[in-house]
């Protein structure tokens, strides 16, 4: 066995185990808080629908914003057309009397931050919500989310994001992934170290958003960037599990890959941008564990991918080379095959750590489903097992793509 590969692998095992143990400790220490709070008064809310070429779904999105359970006179809906070249604007105009419409040009390097800022400039609500064209919040979402702004320094409250009507295999695997992610973020709430408030129906305090300077208009992941900004300014972010927003997720592997490539690239670049916060005691657990994890998780995923590929392919290749020396006479080998196995042959150090890792994963996955009120094998066993065993490989592939993209871009620059 290659000793370098071996050492890297053990580091990966130890780090993964460490993080699993750490989050379990967080779970054991504070548990999962109950969320059923009641709203006493109805503050004004601004719902923003940013749209770039969304003619197919924009109407449904506007309708779902109009039918939310919240007093109509306290709700302001702003649809922002971000330089669409299709019929998005004309569909928006059909609702002119019920919603406010802003239309802005799209500069080539502008992203979702731009329409969000345009809306933020004119928003009248105390609270500011983004409703993406591909997401559907539950009807009572605002009623359930707003009571959690119990303190002045709570900048943002996040609903639980779930995959809407998973059909393809990849969507079903993501369905499980999202549940686990939401559960992790719930745990992060305990340490006040959430690193991303995803687009779909995250509710912000408008004044805080303005105070920190609004969104970055060019960032690949403007939702992650705004969260870093809030963390930097010492605000709190809360994740909920019992309020849900359904969102469309990538259907094919290719779509999933490009989504993750964008996410990871954005996360990596933003973390580099905010590197001064890294391990800075002023930012508490966010700087001590969350920021390093963004970077380390990429490295972990890539090493796991590369080493598993090495271990999957190397023996096969080796075997083929050997088979060539005996002219591929499989029959003789097969005919006389006998198993030479003893229980002493197993690698017990590896088995023990794997058993613990598996046990911890089972606990986390089980708890994720339980606290989100979902059935464990909702989508059958296959996507579930896939998530459990091989999902990190997909993450590794996406991170590898990010690494290659970043390296080649750098080479182009010089």
């Amino acid at each position: 066995m290659n000793p370098v590969v071996n050492v890297i692998l053990w580091c990966v095992y130890i780090l993964s185990l460490y993080f699993a143990v750490f989050w379990l400790l967080v779970l054991v220490d504070k548990g999962i808080t109950k969320e059923n709070k009641k709203l006493n008064r109805f503050p004004p809310v601004t719902i923003v629908i940013p749209a770039y070429n969304e003619e197919k779904v924009i109407e449904n999105t506007i309708k779902s914003a109009l039918t939310l359970n919240y007093p109509k006179n306290k709700t302001e809906i702003i649809a922002v057309n971000h330089g669409s070249t299709d019929k998005t604007l004309s569909i928006m105009n059909k609702y002119r009397d019920k919603i406010k419409i802003i239309s802005i040009e799209k500069m080539p390097d502008e992203r979702k931050g731009a329409p969000m800022n345009a809306a933020l400039k004119v928003a009248k609500g105390d609270f500011f919500v983004c409703l993406d064209a591909d997401s559907i919040p539950e009807k009572d979402a605002l009623l359930k989310i707003l009571p959690h702004f119990s303190e002045k320094d709570i900048a943002c409250v996040l609903p639980s994001m779930k995959v809407d009507k998973p059909k393809s295999f990849w969507q079903k695997a993501q369905w499980t992934e999202y549940l686990v992610n939401m559960f992790y973020k719930k745990l992060m709430t305990n340490l006040n170290c959430i690193h991303v408030a995803p687009g779909p129906f995250s509710v912000y305090r408008t004044d805080i958003l303005r105070k920190v300077g609004g969104y970055n208009e060019k960032n690949l992941t403007e939702d992650l960037e705004i969260t870093y900004k809030l963390q930097k300014n010492q605000y709190k972010i809360i994740q909920l599990l019992d309020t849900q927003v359904l969102t469309k997720s990538p259907q094919t592997f290719k779509q999933l890959y490009s989504q993750r490539n964008r996410w990871f690239k954005g996360a990596f670049l933003t973390t580099i941008q905010y590197r001064k916060m890294l391990f800075n005691r002023k930012y508490g657990d966010f700087a001590m564990i969350q920021l390093p994890v963004v970077i380390i998780s990429g490295i972990l995923a890539m090493t796991l991918l590369l080493t598993s590929m090495y271990y999957a392919l190397q023996p096969r290749l080796d075997f083929l080379i050997k088979m060539r020396t005996i002219n591929f006479d499989f029959w003789t080998l097969l005919k006389n095959f006998s198993l030479n196995f003893s229980i002493f042959d197993l690698n017990y150090a590896l088995i023990i750590s794997s058993v613990f890792m598996l046990m911890f994963s089972v606990i986390i996955v089980y708890k994720s489903h339980k606290h989100s009120n979902e059935r464990l094998l909702e989508n059958g066993i296959l996507p579930f097992l896939f998530f459990f065993v091989y999902y990190y490989l997909i993450m590794g592939i996406a991170w590898l793509g990010v690494t290659i993209d970043l390296l080649t871009k750098r080479i182009q620059k010089w």
Partner: protein
């Protein structure tokens, strides 16, 4: 705005402690298993000594009392014992590579096994004569050093040929790095072995890696029965 944010120091430490504990547990278990492996291989070695003693007794029985009709039974026993010896040798090599603290003990055991193997080799020559068995002997010198990239391939070919010829072929593998056993050096000198892998097929030395077809041809040239299936 300056305020104190929480750092969960005790959780970081506790997590590190638990992680370490799990790994120490794994390592501890690994060492316990290593001890068990050693004990197991030793008991197998003891059993093999008994088996060899029995074989010698059977050989004496045939030679001294002229009981040649017992040859098939003796040969079958020989083949069976030889097979278990080869299997335990393979296992021992794996265990020796994995060993963390008992390397020397495993090395001694390996010497034990090599002696057993050479005993089998000598006996096989005698039994072959008296029982008129059509069998070819190969002494295979390999190096457990990392500097022998072809050894693995050569081993694979030989174990393939063993499976092909079954009891008509005997392969005795000798690790040349086992210099604590004087017999190894004596054999190396006798057969003029200078590089690894090397083969001695019925007293004829082949230096360096030998292809499957070449070995096959050489083996077949030694059988008195020229029409056996494997050589066609």
């Amino acid at each position: 705005m300056v305020m104190e944010r929480k750092i969960s120091k005790e959780k970081y430490l506790l997590a590190a402690f638990i992680t370490l504990a799990i790994f120490l547990l794994g390592m501890f278990l690994g060492l316990v298993i290593e001890g068990k492996r050693l004990g197991y291989m030793q008991s197998v070695a003891d059993q093999q000594k008994l088996e060899f003693g029995s074989l010698q007794l059977q050989y004496q029985y045939i030679t001294e009392l002229g009981e040649e009709k017992s040859c098939p039974a003796v040969l079958a026993t020989f083949e069976k014992y030889m097979e278990t010896l080869v299997k335990s040798q393979e296992r021992l090599t794996g265990y020796e590579n994995d060993a963390k603290i008992n390397k020397d003990e495993f090395r001694l055991l390996k010497q034990d096994y090599t002696q057993a193997e050479l005993n089998f080799w000598l006996l096989s020559k005698k039994v072959k004569d008296i029982c008129k068995k059509d069998v070819v002997n190969i002494l295979y010198f390999y190096s457990s050093d990392t500097q022998c990239p072809d050894c693995e391939k050569q081993s694979f070919i030989l174990s393939y040929l063993k499976q092909k010829f079954q009891d008509k072929l005997l392969v005795f593998a000798i690790d040349e790095t086992l210099d604590i056993e004087p017999m190894v050096n004596i054999l190396k000198e006798t057969y003029n072995i200078t590089k690894y892998p090397s083969l001695v097929i019925e007293d004829k030395t082949f230096s360096g890696f030998v292809e499957n077809d070449a070995i096959l041809k050489e083996i077949c040239s030694h059988y008195s029965n020229k029409t056996i299936d494997e050589c066609k």
